[in-house]
């Protein structure tokens, strides 16, 4: 989620410290695994905010900028992504996503959380979670297409 092993290790430690400090506040309203996951996500979110990354540029994400409006979704049909996508290429593209898109994409498409769970973890609406995910996939598609185009020398 943070795209950096050393940072991920620091955050792992911080998550355990938070767990140690807050375990007494767990009231059993949700499954312990959900509570723990939320706590860990919060540690990541705090770190992203500390680094000045607008986590959920949710509002921003809802306003298409000129280069990411719906019209960008029409691509040349001859550049469709077919067959298997190169894993490393996709990982690189995910790492380049804005933080809010990346979190939503990883939570939903990689880790398998539902939109209502993501909305709860990220403290956003379910609609925003769906929108973030969609925009993340569109951006990944653009990035993978650009890479394919570069490889084909066009």
């Amino acid at each position: 989620m943070v795209g950096n092993v050393a940072e991920a290790e620091d955050l792992t430690q911080e998550a355990f410290l938070q767990l140690h400090r807050k375990i007494a506040t767990f009231r059993g309203d949700s499954a312990f695994s959900t509570w723990l996951h939320r706590l860990a996500i919060n540690v990541v979110l705090m770190q992203l905010r500390k680094k000045g990354l607008s986590l959920i540029s949710l509002d921003e994400a809802m306003e298409p900028t000129p280069d990411e409006g719906p019209s960008r979704s029409f691509g040349a049909p001859d550049l469709t992504l077919t067959g298997a996508i190169d894993r490393l290429a996709l990982e690189r593209a995910v790492a380049d996503l804005p933080a809010g898109y990346r979190l939503t994409f990883i939570l939903h498409d990689v880790e398998g959380f539902e939109h209502n769970e993501i909305a709860s973890m990220l403290d956003c609406s379910i609609g925003n979670s769906k929108s973030q995910l969609h925009k993340a996939r569109l951006k990944l598609r653009d990035a993978l297409r650009a890479q394919k185009r570069a490889e084909e020398g066009t």
Partner: protein, 79 residues
């Protein structure tokens, strides 16, 4: 252009896509997709990306020294 979903434009259809996909409906069955090659291709690509995502980032166990540091930090907190 409400009314006949088969006659909506690509922009209108794509504006609905996040909700359509997120709700778990079969977006490929939407009347617009049936008659629009580009939106059909778009959906297929987004699905390909979502499928590929499942292979990403296999869970990694932190190295032993991370656990040692955590243990040490927890002991410090407990003092």
């Amino acid at each position: 252009m409400k009314g006949d979903p088969g006659k909506m434009s690509c922009v209108e259809f794509q504006a609905q896509l996040p909700e359509l996909i997120g709700s778990g409906e079969d977006a490929a069955a939407h009347p617009h997709v049936q008659s629009c090659d580009r939106c059909r291709a778009l959906l297929a690509e987004l699905e390909t990306i979502a499928e590929a995502a499942r292979q990403l980032f296999p869970s990694v166990e932190p190295p032993d020294e991370v656990w040692a540091q955590i243990e040490s930090a927890l002991k410090q907190e407990g003092k």
